[in-house]
Amino acid sequence: MGLTTACQPVLRVLVGRVQACFAVVLVMALVCGVPAAGASSGGCSNELRREEQNSLYLPECRAYEMVSPLEKNGTDVTGNGDVTEAADNGEAVAYGALAGFSETSGSGALGFTQYIARREEDGWRTRGITPRATLEAFQFLPGAVAATVFSTDLEYAAIEGYQLEDGSGGVPKEINLYRENTATSGLETISEPLTAGPFSPLGMNGTQRGSSADLSTVTFETTLNLLPEATGSKRKLYMWRDGQLQLAGILPDGSVPSGGSEAPAGQGEIQDALLNRDAVSTDGSSVAFASPASGSPQLYLRRNGTSTAWVSQSEASSPIASPKGVRYQAMTPDGHEVVFTSSDPLLDADPGGAGVGLYIYTDGPSPESESNLTFVARLNDSSSEQLVSAISDDAKRIYFYAGAGGEFATAGTYIWDEGAIHLVAETGTPLSKQAPYAHASLLAQASANGEVFAFRSNESLTEEAEDARSGQLYVYDESTRKLRCVSCMPAGAPTSASAEVEPEATKEPQSIDLPIRPRFVSSNGEHMFFATAAPLVAQDTNGLTDVYEYDLASGEVSLLSPGTGGYGAWFGASDESGDNVFILTRGQLVGSDTDSLVDLYDVRVGGGFVQPAPQTGGCVGDECQGSPSAAPSFNVASGFTGLGNVVAGKEGKAVGQSKPRALTRAQRLAQALKKCRHRSKKARARCAAKARRKYGPHAAKKARKAQKSTSNRVVRRGGK
């Protein structure tokens, strides 16, 4: 395994020829529509929001909430690869983009920046969480900053990156591991050496492995000797627990294995990283690891940092000192059970021979038995295969693949249900090999009790899948022992598109995959989510990829994206209950989304926020000044208490108006004189004289008499 693969579990950055160049460089130079059942047509408390969004078709009173901000620095939310992870309770979600926005601080390879969005009373708030590397960091080289794993509540992130600017300590001028408080950006250095070194370059690249649910425990492996007790040049698995660094790879006798130690699933592809992520119990007390302590690599379980159990120790009557072909398969969340395979029989119940024995290790002998091991079956398969697809939280149900042979008449995926084995589906190859994605283990998830098992298969496994395009989503219900293709069109109609549980909303040439496992099955197994371009309901008319929900109880599918319009939608992640389903789309599902960039939405049960009122251009014209006021009133009649000479008029009109009054003599004189001005000098003098004779003071007496007579008439008329 070269360095190229060593960095892959953490951050797989494919840049075409450049990636190939990297390998060369590193090796050579450095290292050497129709509402479905469950849809509500009223009675939801958020009905108004649903009406505003035109999302009444959504089942279970779901409504859209825009999670990513409108202001995204002109860039899509990354919708390619697995970078989206929901908090268990659905109140937060992690996602990424190739640009900085929302209080961003730094960015990683290719400008990839990670964000946490948290739901608040009035909407989702996004915060950039990618820290800055130091000034010398050339993130085209290994050491690009990335959050590789999150706590289940997204309060913390494990960060891997070249010597962060805001981090303290760590291995100098080297890639380091940190725990970040995603609300404050505070950093704690995980890879804090307690030795002086020297430290060889790139010894910390791609090292993060497992973690507890709250990230108080993080495991990583490196060739560097960070502790005095760590020696040699082999890889060693370290455990950072409550701020203290210690070696996780310690043998039951307390010694440090000379052959080194590593995370139990190895360090290959992303799916191995996912398996390793689960190899630490949720409370951090149990850490599984592998070590070639004596010959072949063996599995161990480090407990509370104080003792170690040998998981793959033979309990046969004729025990094998160093069983061969031991491979880690799964661990229960409490770390109490480890499921693994072994080429050599470890119990007398295992007939041995070809293939591998599938075992459950239970930590601490049960009261009834001195044995820690439970034999499940001997499988006719290679010891290097990932054969277990999913287990229940108590390991009482295990879904595994078995090739034909031995006790298995046909190759297929089986369930071991507390001792009984049933055929789930006749899959010709392990589900882990049917991956179109890097995350093979993404393709199969079980409910917490293991009763429901959902998986994507390229094979046609049911009648309705006969005419289906390769790659459909199947659901097996152990309670009925029935298998159904939930992404297939109803029987008789060919299914023209495959079902996807990994988004392809964007098509960046660089694939950024993080070892996160977007949940597509609710914890209780009642809901499954996927995307397909097949129109599974009548409302889906746009011929594009849309997100669907399958309801186990009703056996019906419902649209979680509009199914109409010019944009498709992709499934991103869901929370534990399935109440919050995060989808990616360029569509504008709420009023505040005004661009066609890819956004992250929560299709939330009882969700929806009040949208800002759409901006209008405001008033136009006369209406801007409101209603006209009443015209000024000149109704003088109201002022009279006795007799007067004014006749009241109609409301709003000037009243008391007498007939137009004749011009006074003086006015007439002025008017006449004005007219005279336009004449010649001689004519003007004659004109003026004539005017004065007619209207001048000499004639004024007669005129005054006439005026007096008129006034009297007015008074008389008013005084009747």
Binding site: V15, C21, G111, T134, F138, D622, V636, G639, Q657
Partner: protein
């Protein structure tokens, strides 16, 4: 020790370069007539005993290959050893090695050192779009202190050398700062362009940030920035504009996707490439990247974008408040790469065949260097335009930036562009049209004013001058309408937010009109409003008594332009003159103002039906003292309220008067009313004769003096009556 490590790791850099990681070069200096740009880079800070790398990146930005030879020289100053070649001393694009000269020939230059001057002659030609990187190294002597100097120069094909002087400060890294800023505007012959209103062939902005020495993994020498820059704003001078509607656009998805030319190239339409970008990362030059005209996000007038080594950078363009120049902003810039130098070249005519060898796959695969062309199939059109004014001063460019480390501290840089000339050649052919909204005389009316300027997209021509000032004088008799005052409010300066890009918060009741502006810069017209501002003076001639403002607002593109205007009223004739000065240096093809109509319209038409003439003087930015005079005539066809036109208005006012008590010798109020109709002439003087014996008793009443009366401060005791007045044309006088 440092040296040996450095040498070991230089091969890493060489490998990266060989793989196309470091392949083409940016440029800081653009010499007149030179086909190349040269960026010379050394760290700004270094410690005694440290080796520092001197990088000279030579890029052929022209459409023809250069002539051999390339002569480089470097002279180190006191405190620095003479420069020596690094292991990868001459580093050429693979396309050069394959297609033009042998790699061996290029890698074996003739060099000699004379004193502290190192000089090499390289038998190399550079095809269009290719670059050659020269790497030298020098060491700070043990006792070095203060500021050391280094001079490097590059001569290509016998042309005059381009020389740059770099400084190295001995000691720890200094504060975040711009090390330098440069701009160049070149014509098609790569000569400096000074013609106002012309379309530049290349407009290049170069920003260099302060850098220091460092290393990664204890191995790789990196000349990194002293801090990570976060936001960078480049302020373009007013009038230097780009037209995003002139060329196709690229979406964010297309920029991120892999194009047919390979992963290093986006999937943008070829026609959307509008330039080139090259960077210095950690002291190394990146390949040339295409610059694309992006679909702008909400809130930005336009956006440019590029992708370097997979990292996307977008540059948003905004119309800034104040002088309405364009700001180019990179916000929350990625910290992925240790960028120390950014050089952005924007093409004035993106479809020009001169760029065919540096577009799309021709750029990415070096096919352009091999003689292939990649035309974009779009018609040639002007994407850039220089200001249309000639201020006599150099065009001011400036930049601001902060860092992630100190986000509230902004540093600035500046550069002077050319002094524009030739304003007499800048065309200015406006047309203006005004029309009242009613054809009735002496009636409330709105007015439509339409101003047009022909805009050309000819990349070889000179653009139409922007309008600086408009003075519009309405016909005599077209006056302010008092009826408009009913319900009318005004907008305060604080509400208008004149020097801000924020939308005005004026009362709706202060809106007296609407505006529609068509600009070639936007696909859709911008709408806006005319606001009535608060009165600043009681002098009607001052222009401060009647103040208005135009607000053009386009939220989609983040545009909010406010243009204050003054309306002066002749106190004798009442004639109104509106003046809008210092209009934005932004091109528009048509602007239409609609002052609202209706009973409360702000204006009234003249009394007479005779032809009415509006006069306009329009001043171009190109010749701000030489207005173009325009006059327009409109005809009123009726009198008010449906009455026929009359050549002489009538005058039939009404009068009434009376008392409320007829008790002889008694006391009584006296009431009198005068009125006139819209069709009547205005009253010039009123006199009234009281009946004999009707007397007023003023005994015991205090008198209000003239001054008090003018000031409106008469005492209550002096009040002997009240007056109600109604004014304004139309059915609802105020």
């Amino acid at each position: 020790m440092l040296r040996s490590v450095s040498r070991r790791l230089t091969c890493v850099v060489a490998l990266l370069a060989a793989l196309g990681v470091f392949a083409a070069a940016p440029a800081a200096g653009v010499a007149a007539s030179s086909p190349v740009t040269v960026t010379a880079s050394v760290p700004d800070y270094a410690e005694p005993g440290e080796f520092v790398q001197i990088t000279m990146a030579i890029v052929n930005m022209s459409d023809e290959k250069t002539k051999a030879p390339i002569v480089v020289s470097d002279t180190t100053g006191s405190g620095l050893t003479a420069a020596t070649p690094s292991e990868n001393f001459v580093f050429a694009d693979s396309s050069i090695a394959y297609h033009e000269t042998s790699e061996e020939e290029a890698q074996t230059p003739a060099c000699e050192t004379t004193g502290k001057t190192f000089e090499c002659t390289i038998a190399q030609v550079l095809p269009p779009g290719t670059q050659l990187t020269i790497r030298l190294e020098t060491m700070l002597e043990g006792g070095a202190s203060g500021v050391l100097s280094n001079q490097s120069s590059v001569s290509v094909g016998g042309l005059p050398a381009q020389t740059s002087q770099e400084r190295i400060t001995v000691g720890e890294r200094g504060p975040f700062a711009f090390d330098s800023m440069g701009v160049s505007l070149l014509d098609r012959e790569r000569e400096p362009l000074e013609q106002a209103g012309a379309v530049p062939s290349d407009f290049t902005t170069d920003l260099t940030f302060a850098s220091g020495t460092g290393e990664m993994f204890h191995l790789i020498p990196i000349a990194g920035p002293v801090e990570h820059f976060k936001d960078v704003t480049v302020h373009l001078p007013p009038g230097l504009i780009g037209n995003p509607t002139a060329v196709p656009t690229c979406t964010a998805a297309e920029l991120a996707e892999e194009g047919p030319g390979g992963q290093q190239l986006p999937n943008c339409p070829p026609g959307s490439q509008v330039g080139l970008v090259h960077l210095l990362l950690g002291g190394e030059a990146t390949p040339l990247s295409g610059l694309f005209n992006m679909v702008p996000p909400p809130g930005a007038a336009s956006q440019l974008g590029f992708k370097v080594l997979g990292t996307i950078v977008v540059l948003d363009a905004y119309v800034r408040a104040g002088d309405h120049g364009i700001d180019i902003v990179s916000r929350n810039t990625s910290t992925t790469l240790p960028i120390t130098n950014v050089e952005v070249t924007t093409w004035g005519d993106p479809a020009s065949p001169s760029h065919d060898r540096m577009r799309g796959a021709c750029l990415g695969f070096g096919e352009g260097a091999n003689g292939q062309t990649c035309p974009d199939g779009e018609p040639e059109t002007a994407f850039l335009r220089l200001p249309t004014s000639c201020s006599g001063e150099q065009l001011p460019f400036s930049a601001e930036s902060n860092s992630y480390e100190q986000p509230t501290t902004f540093v600035s840089g500046s550069a002077a562009g050319p002094t524009l000339s030739g304003c007499e050649q800048v065309p200015f052919e406006p047309t203006i049209f005004t029309q009242p909204t009613t054809t009735a005389a002496n009636s409330p009316t709105g007015v439509a004013v339409q101003l047009s300027l022909p805009q050309s997209s000819n990349p070889l021509g000179i653009g139409e001058s922007d309008l600086k000032k408009a003075v519009v004088t309405l016909p005599e008799g077209m006056a302010l309408n008092p009826s408009a005052a009913d319900g009318l409010q005004t907008c305060s300066d604080a509400e208008l937010k004149l020097d801000s890009n924020e939308p005005a918060t004026c009362p709706e009741a202060s809106k007296i009109g609407t505006v529609l502006l068509n600009t070639p810069l936007l696909a859709n017209p911008i709408e806006g409003f005319v606001w009535l501002r608060t009165q600043n003076s009681s002098d009607p001639m001052s222009g401060e008594m009647f103040r208005i403002a135009i607000e053009l607002r386009d939220d989609r593109h983040g545009i909010d332009i406010k243009l204050p205007g003054q309306v002066a009223a002749n106190p004798v004739t009442g004639r109104l003159t509106s003046t809008f000065d210092d209009a934005p240096q932004l091109p528009f093809s048509e602007m239409t103002l609609h002052f609202k109509s209706g009973a409360r319209a702000p204006l009234t038409t003249p009394f007479a039906c005779q032809p009415q003439t509006t006069e306009a003087d329009l001043y171009p930015w190109a010749r701000p003292n030489t207005p173009v005079h325009k006059s327009m005539t409109f005809q009123l066809t009726s009198g008010p309220e449906g009455t026929p036109c009359t050549s002489t208005p009538g005058f039939n006012p009404t009068f009434s008067a009376g008392v409320s008590s007829v008790q002889a010798g008694g006391y009584t109020p006296f009431l009198v009313t005068f009125s006139r109709k819209d069709a009547d002439q205005s009253m010039q003087r009123v006199s009234m004769q009281m009946p004999k014996g009707l007397l007023g008793s003023l005994v015991g009443l205090p008198l209000c003096g003239e001054a008090q009366a003018n000031a409106g401060t008469c005492s209550q005791e002096s009040e002997i009556g009240s007056v109600t007045a109604g004014a304004g044309d139309g059915p609802t006088p105020f």
